[in-house]
Symmetry: C2
Subunit: 202 residues, 2 copies
């Protein structure tokens, strides 16, 4: 018996679901949309294809749920990095952490889903809606942790541009390890941001 088998039925179902979601993100990051099917993910998660289809009736269900699940995990982890919120955080560290959101397997997976959605009718509206939701949440976190006062003119757009830059840095990291250059850009833009947002909260 595996650990999962010993759990009560409801917990077992939740654990299976979670294994599928994590396998789906890993699969998408490594093999792209074309190589990512429910069958491949089920095998990777050690779950029967029937069980996978019980949780996620369609391929689109599985992969959009997977990207959303991991995005939520990452949002929580980001907030947990700065438990005191803007009070305890210096802006360079916050900018670096925001940029980190876009350099791991989640971003690779999301990017594959995003690009596939631009050509696939069944995926398009769902991914658009998902990205809008994840984007709003990331913006909220950024505003909180940067102690950005969005009632001041231009502050909202300053934060948006920062997150666009973070996404662009993620893209630049797709084919090569861009860490050295990225660190320098982060340092410089954190300074620009500090000047733009006014008083550093730390």
């Amino acid at each position: 018996m595996t650990t999962v088998d010993r759990l009560p039925k409801q917990d077992r179902s939740r654990a299976t679901r979670q294994r599928l979601l994590e396998a789906a993100v890993a699969c998408l990051a490594e093999r792209g949309w074309a190589g990512s099917t429910v069958a491949v993910v089920a095998e990777r998660a050690g779950v029967s294809r029937g069980a996978a289809q019980h949780h996620f009736p369609t391929r689109e269900d599985l992969f959009t749920a997977a990207v959303e699940y991991v995005a939520e995990e990452r949002s929580q982890a980001l907030r947990a990095l700065f438990p005191e919120g803007a009070q305890g955080a210096d802006r360079r560290a916050v900018v670096a952490a925001l940029v980190d959101l876009y350099t791991g397997p989640l971003f690779r997976a999301a990017l594959h889903l995003w690009v596939a959605a631009s050509n696939e009718e069944q995926l398009g509206p769902r991914v658009t809606e998902l990205e809008a939701r994840v984007g709003r949440e990331t913006h909220r976190i950024a505003v909180d942790l940067l102690a950005a006062d969005e009632t001041r003119p231009g502050v909202r757009e300053t934060v948006q541009g920062l997150l666009d830059m973070a996404r662009g840095l993620g893209l630049a990291n797709l084919l090569t390890d861009d860490r050295t250059r990225r660190d320098r850009v982060v340092t410089q833009w954190a300074d620009l941001l500090d000047a733009a947002l006014g008083q550093d909260p730390s």
Copy 2:
């Protein structure tokens, strides 16, 4: 007889090549890497498959050449927009034009190629090399048109971050028309950039 048939042989060959390159970029932008084969592009360009393979022996040859060709066209068009260089340009207009590089069919095509290259061994090194080359050229143009003095500390990273932001804005435009938000971000960051780069050249 078509117009192409009336040209001398060398010009005809050049015209065929150009038709193939333009068809390849359009195909990549609309159908993604999975839907883009030499046969599909040849048909779209009205060229025989044999002629297409004479110009581009492999699928990788065709699509990397296509993205490079269109990137060069766009670089030239960007310089042509500001014929007097940094002297005649206001920075808001330059930032907007740089961001525009990443919102059209070329960026969509390049993005598909980029994402495919992250999972395909045959494509990876070639696209990496191509992106580095195109990226350096875009950086050079940006530095020129912004009259950015890279001998000053932080200026190089400021310009790099701006181009990362432009790429991120392109990504945000992939699934939805993001123009309204983008214009506001461009206006705001053009102001921040102006302050960071010092004296406006215009």
